[in-house]
């Protein structure tokens, strides 16, 4: 009997996720303004439904919460199938695959910022600049020295971390608005440097950066009938999953606890023996490492980078992802990235109003959920992304 119920649960979850999967592809496909508005109405209607039919919503939420491994496995399967299924449904599927890859890359940058801003409470308005350091490092190493991707990507991350260390060392003890201003300056500094240093391309940037070549397999080659972007899709998917697992481990560990305490009450943390200065530096450099890695992948994939890619506007987008999505919450950051990267792309259809609608979206979200769409939840010290530890007791501590 229990097995049957479990099977039904799995079926329910799989069907709900598959349904959403197809709806998203339909959403990608739509070009006409009116049907687009209808889709938005559908989303609005769903939100209203959750408000009115609280009981059903709660039961669905509970279903997903208690079967987390199923949810994640189905999700990963759907994501793996996407490049194969999407060309059937979406005529412009290559474009959307590229957008999804870009979203994945931004998720990595945002998870890096999340460590600094979400977990430790340190504002960093220069995330695009550190992303750029990673991009330029990988670009230069690949272009001039022909280093393989497996080396340039981690080196790019380390470069971004080192640059952040050098920049933050004199100023990381500042707080709040002052730190924000200082990082704002860093962003401009680095962007200006990229614009003016001829050695790394100046205003023209770097072009013809060699693509990834993994153990002889060239990422520019087509996958059967599919566009070469498919290679990058799976590569980025794997790395995003890895980044999520690392972030999850950080959150559900002494590291996450210590950073949160520094964020919420630094003097109390110090009183408990926390060397907050050291931890803040650690948080900054680690976050920038993530950003650098993401930048490297971007450079290798697009093959062409230039200063306009790494301006304050992009930094602001990353900050918005973390703040709107949910600070110190991995799922929140992912949702934030999806909303803030994919929706504006879709709104290209209504190009004139794109920026305005984008702005309205941000205002609406912040008014209704000031702590972000998915604020951080209780730290349960979970051992794995797949959910609570098996065989361990619940919160009442009875076992």
């Amino acid at each position: 009997m229990k097995k049957k119920n479990k099977f039904l649960d799995i079926l329910k979850i799989a069907s709900i996720e598959t349904l959403i999967f197809f709806l998203i592809m339909v959403f990608f496909r739509i070009e006409s303004t009116w049907i687009l508005l209808a889709t938005l109405a559908l989303i609005g209607g769903t939100l209203l439904y959750t408000r009115i039919y609280k009981k059903q919503t709660e039961s669905i939420k509970a279903l997903f919460a208690s079967n987390r491994s199923t949810v994640l496995i189905v999700l990963v399967l759907l994501l793996l199938l996407y490049p194969i299924v999407s060309p059937i449904i979406i005529p412009q599927s290559t474009y959307w695959t590229l957008i999804l890859i870009q979203t994945g890359i931004y998720i990595m940058v945002a998870l890096g910022l999340n460590i600094q801003l979400g977990s430790t409470g340190m504002m960093n308005l220069a995330s695009a600049a550190f992303y750029g350091v990673g991009a330029y490092t990988a670009g230069m190493l690949a272009l001039k020295l022909n280093w393989p991707a497996l080396i340039t990507i981690p080196v790019a991350g380390i470069a971004a971390a080192l640059v952040s260390l050098v920049l933050f060392l004199p100023v990381y003890k500042t707080k709040g608005h002052y730190l924000a201003l200082v990082t704002l300056a860093f962003g401009y500094m680095l962007a200006l440097a990229a614009d003016n240093i001829e050695f790394i391309g100046g205003p023209q940037g770097l072009k013809n950066i060699p693509s990834i070549n993994l153990f002889g397999y060239d990422f520019l080659s087509k996958v059967g009938n599919f566009h070469f972007y498919t290679n990058y899709y799976y590569f980025v998917l794997a790395l995003v999953i890895l980044t999520i697992i690392i972030s999850h481990r950080f959150f559900n560990s002494w590291i996450g606890l210590t950073l949160s305490y520094i964020r919420d009450d630094e003097p109390a943390a110090k009183g408990c023996g926390v060397n907050s200065n050291r931890w803040k530096l650690l948080s900054l450099t680690t976050g920038c490492f993530f950003m650098g890695v993401a930048g490297a992948i971007y450079a290798l994939m697009i093959g062409f980078i230039s200063p306009p890619n790494f301006q304050f506007a992009q930094s602001l987008l990353i900050v918005s992802i973390v703040i709107i999505g949910g600070m110190d919450n991995i799922l929140g950051v992912i949702v934030g990235a999806i909303i803030l990267v994919i929706i504006p792309e879709k709104f290209r259809v209504i190009t004139q109003y794109r920026v305005m609608l984008y702005g309205i979206l941000i205002v609406v979200v912040l008014l209704s959920r000031p702590r972000g769409l998915i604020p951080f939840g209780a730290r349960k010290y979970e051992a794995s992304v797949l959910g609570a530890r098996n065989g361990k007791e619940g919160p009442d501590g009875n076992k």
Binding site: Y261, P267, G271, C272, G273, R379, S384, D396
Partner: protein, 265 residues
């Protein structure tokens, strides 16, 4: 004054000056092992400043203090915590949005494996520590109020004031320090709650042997019922020291609190 107890902490002429204001001057206070020392004094007499100095939050303008013979003056708060001094704060410093468990477990920071390697690759070790310290936290909460344990994963901000105090004290206790400093722990409590809290203090004493507790209090019923020794401050200077009775009857102390001569029954 019994002196078979070992002196584990002492200050030497601590002076804390803020511009022209001497918040503390000529402070010489000894703390002995396994005692409960009370500190009293009118508002502004420098009690919390004293705590802030000996925990490193303020650096004294002159003077020094020693724990187990080691000079701690000039050290940062986290270094002093490492040497074995924990504290609570006059206005509770808890992270209200974090869970009850989080707020206690941060007390074990110095014993935690916080390295990247362990966190990313040695899950087993990390989880073992989590379980071990969680047991400790639950054990402490059982002493004070088992009801809190049901709310272990709820934000601590949802707990009533007295339970929050208990969480803060548990955070200080779980670090197994040599000295626990309690700064007006009964502030904001009703008389009933204060009664319960005095019981809490006795339970702490029973639970943690060989730990010294120093407690700043305004509520004389607490001081009189739990302190073995009392030290009194006024205007930044130590004006009396001894048993509660001795200090309470000291002329200087009475003058500080009550103004002029006052015949107390």
């Amino acid at each position: 004054m019994e002196t078979n107890k070992k002196k584990i902490f002492y200050t030497k002429d601590i002076e804390m000056r803020f511009g022209g204001l001497y918040a503390l001057s000529e402070i010489n206070i000894d703390i002995f092992e396994d005692e409960l020392l009370g500190m009293i004094g009118p508002n502004g007499s420098g009690k919390t400043t004293f705590f802030n100095v000996i925990t490193g939050f303020y650096k004294p303008t002159s003077g020094s203090f020693y724990l187990m013979g080691e000079k701690l003056t000039g050290k940062e708060p986290f270094e002093i915590a490492k040497k074995g001094i924990s504290r609570t704060y006059q206005i509770s410093r808890l992270c209200l949005d974090l869970t009850v468990l989080d707020n206690i477990l941060i007390g074990t920071h110095l014993k935690q494996s916080t390295g990247y390697f362990t966190t990313l690759f040695n899950k087993k070790k990390l989880m073992k520590e989590v379980d071990e310290y969680k047991e400790k936290a639950i054990h402490l909460l059982k002493i004070f109020n088992p009801a809190i344990i049901e709310r272990l994963y709820e934000p601590v901000g949802g707990l009533p004031q007295i339970d929050r105090r208990r969480v803060e004290v548990s955070r200080a206790m779980i670090a197994a320090p040599k000295i626990i400093l309690l700064d007006e722990p009964s502030a904001g409590m009703s008389p009933d709650e204060t009664e319960v809290f005095m019981d809490d203090i006795r339970k702490i004493r029973a639970e943690m042997t060989n730990v010294t507790i120093m407690i700043i209090e305004h509520d004389m019923s607490v001081i009189s019922s739990v302190s073995e020794r009392v030290v009194a401050l006024n205007f930044g200077k130590k004006i009396a020291e001894g048993t509660y009775k001795e200090v309470f009857n000291n002329k200087e102390v009475r003058k500080a609190y009550l103004g002029e001569e006052y015949n107390h029954e």
